[in-house]
Amino acid sequence: MNGYTNKILFVNLSDNSAGIIPTEKYIEQFVGGRGIAVKLLYELTPKNVDPLGPKNALIIMTGPLTGTIVPSSGRVDVISKSPQTNLLGGSNAGGFFGPELKYAGYDGIVITGRASSKVYIDIYNDDVEVKSAENLSGKGVFDTVKALRKNDEDTQVACIGPAGEKLVNLSGIAFSMRNYAARCGLGAVMGSKNLKAIAVRGTKGLDVAVPDQLKQIADEMRERIKDTPSYKEFPEWHHKLFRVLEADAKTFFGNYDNVLWDGRFEAYENAEKFVKGAELKLQSCFGCPLRCWAYINMKNVGKASAVACQGTLTSIVNFAKIKDFNKVWEAYLLCQDMGLDTGGTSATIAYAMDLYSKGILSKTQVNAINLTFGDGNAFVSLVKKIAGKEGIGELLADGVKKASEKLGEAAKKLAVYAKGGQELWLMEIRPFKGVALSCAVTDSGSHNRAAYGLCEFYYRSMKTQAETVAKNIVGTEEAAQPTRYEYKPKLVAIYEDMHTLADSLGVCSIPFMPVGLDLWTKAYTASTGRETSPKDLMYVAERIRTLERLFNIREGLTRQDDTIAERMFSEPLKEGPWKGEALDKVMFEKMIDEYYALRGWDLTGKPKPETLKRLGLEDTCA
């Protein structure tokens, strides 16, 4: 079928065998990307599969729109069983890897087994070779990418840093120089397979069903994206980002116990001064007009590209309260190079700082590091220790939840994490009831994979827009108010479905909503020649979400797992615009009941037989 390459590359590293899985049979039910990846994971792994064992599958899937002329189509979805949560692990990355993979002739790659020594997979169109990566062992992401590109910057590389090699649960998979599938410990899964990298170069290209029509649709989409507030604001986000978070009252500092940190304005000013002063060039992922990241050259510290993302660069400042932006940049580059999830790592370090300040971690335990909030050097030392699992790093390498379990009750009480034990994505959760629900019911980890851009997010700064969106989706403006519990289950379910579709079509979730599902649907049809409708696609999304649920139930998930850290309920915010806000347990459980009902799941969170039948999943037993 056009739009797809119709081949998924299957590599078993245990016996060095490779094969092709035809994409065709999954298209109707699961479309592509995240959808097909989840289906493959379900099919290819046995129940209770060890996330770091050879039987786990690491799946990198593109969607039917990936690498087409459609804007923002550089995405890949990475799926595996997560070592951090023991549930489905999913993370989505932009950049240029997905398009290159398709031009080489593959819709995706499935990796199983474990190589006997460190290897990388080298793909050039039909030539697929497993090669020795011994010389790359222990190398950082930047050097690895450089080595495998061999002066051809169109060669795209997916790789892990030292952290992934050491099976650190806070590690992610880097896609070339900056894009990350950061969450859920997928770097450790890749490391467990002794797979250092995948290098891909493709010159075969892609056939689409109705080229001229697709071009027209893409032109219209580009215009719609250019009309969005994001488009206008993104060039300034690199230095205004902290103010954006403040304007929406999503800011918190430290280990979720501080909103009005008195050093924050100094920190913001430092960030603004440094980022503005650094050599800056706005950049975009494949086919995208949004330019939401930039090359930054911080004199004397280092140059690289940075993302203006609420979850990464900012998280170092917010979690660790570091004012010196030189240090922040150094720490950020180090996380990127070591192959760490910057957000999760920052949260874990803030947690350790909090424990140390309260005497729960002793000076000896923290290896005599001055582990106090604001100390950039301490932060950098800890990143190194986590990446190498040395000293205190051994305790912290798998994130907040697992560290807390080793440290006892007092430590457990201070731990904040989302479902399954993954650190939350950087934003205060307590006032945002929809986001909280989303964190609890999502397939994996935090809400960035489910409710990105939920209209609650920007209620404070763009009230009218938030209300319009809420009214369009659930029929009432009130649904946009962050602190309201009502209407949130429906709002979250629809956002989840939209997000799932973006991840499955292979496009970015940021412009997905503003462009509108009607145009994405038209693009899908023009690209593949397959007739479908927005309604049909939403139905596919529902099927994918339920299959994700079935996978998690198979791996032992129960309703009790659909929650968020206790502190978000028991500890109201002490200060700031949302002073006094906490999550209400009764209202929260009520939201979950309602969400389950909307999904056609029973009160234990298990999909009902009639739901499975309606979605054509009756053969998939949980």
Binding site: Y103, E153, G205, L206, L214, K215, Q283, C285, P289, R291
Partner: protein, 159 residues
């Protein structure tokens, strides 16, 4: 030569939309390797440099072609007469900027034809990093852009 595509390097965000549009327009499929324009990246220094035929007034490619397959249209500049081209690739070797490509599918030499005077890459570029500019106005345009800083300085200094 009347007009050429001028690249404003500092504006290019590296999204490669021009490549997909070009291959779609010319080959009715999507493949940067079949595009007449290619964004060359130097990621470590943050440089994105779209490269395409600059429509030389005295084209080396045409001079070197043993089959006289590269011709020069008065208005649109160099173009390839595929009835004569034997695919010897000499033109690729002599082009000083790598502005000539080779279609990997059919091994044909490819060169920008300015979309017959309506270049689609220019239309699709989200950042106006590509502009279709009258050759006669090229130097005055660059001169004005280059001197903007001085003009502002003079205004401030009230000289």
């Amino acid at each position: 030569m009347d007009k050429i595509v001028v690249v404003n390097y500092d504006k290019c965000i590296g999204c490669r939309t021009c490549e997909t549009v070009c291959s779609l327009v010319h080959e009715k499929r999507i493949n940067p390797s079949e595009s007449r324009i290619n964004v060359v990246k130097y990621e470590e220094i943050g440089a994105n440099i779209p490269v395409l035929c600059q429509k030389c007034e005295d084209p080396a490619c045409a001079a070197v072609c043993p089959m006289d397959a590269i011709k020069v249209d008065e208005s649109l500049g160099t173009y390839i007469d595929y009835t004569r081209c034997v695919g010897c690739k000499m033109c690729i070797l002599v082009c000083p900027i790598g502005g000539i490509g080779l279609n990997p599918a059919n091994k044909k030499v490819i060169i920008c034809d300015l979309c017959k005077g309506d270049p689609q890459c220019v239309k699709s570029c989200p950042e106006q990093a590509l502009e279709y500019v009258d050759v006669s106005k090229l130097s005055i345009k660059k001169r004005r852009e280059g001197l903007e800083k001085l003009a502002k300085f003079l205004e401030v200094a009230k000289i």
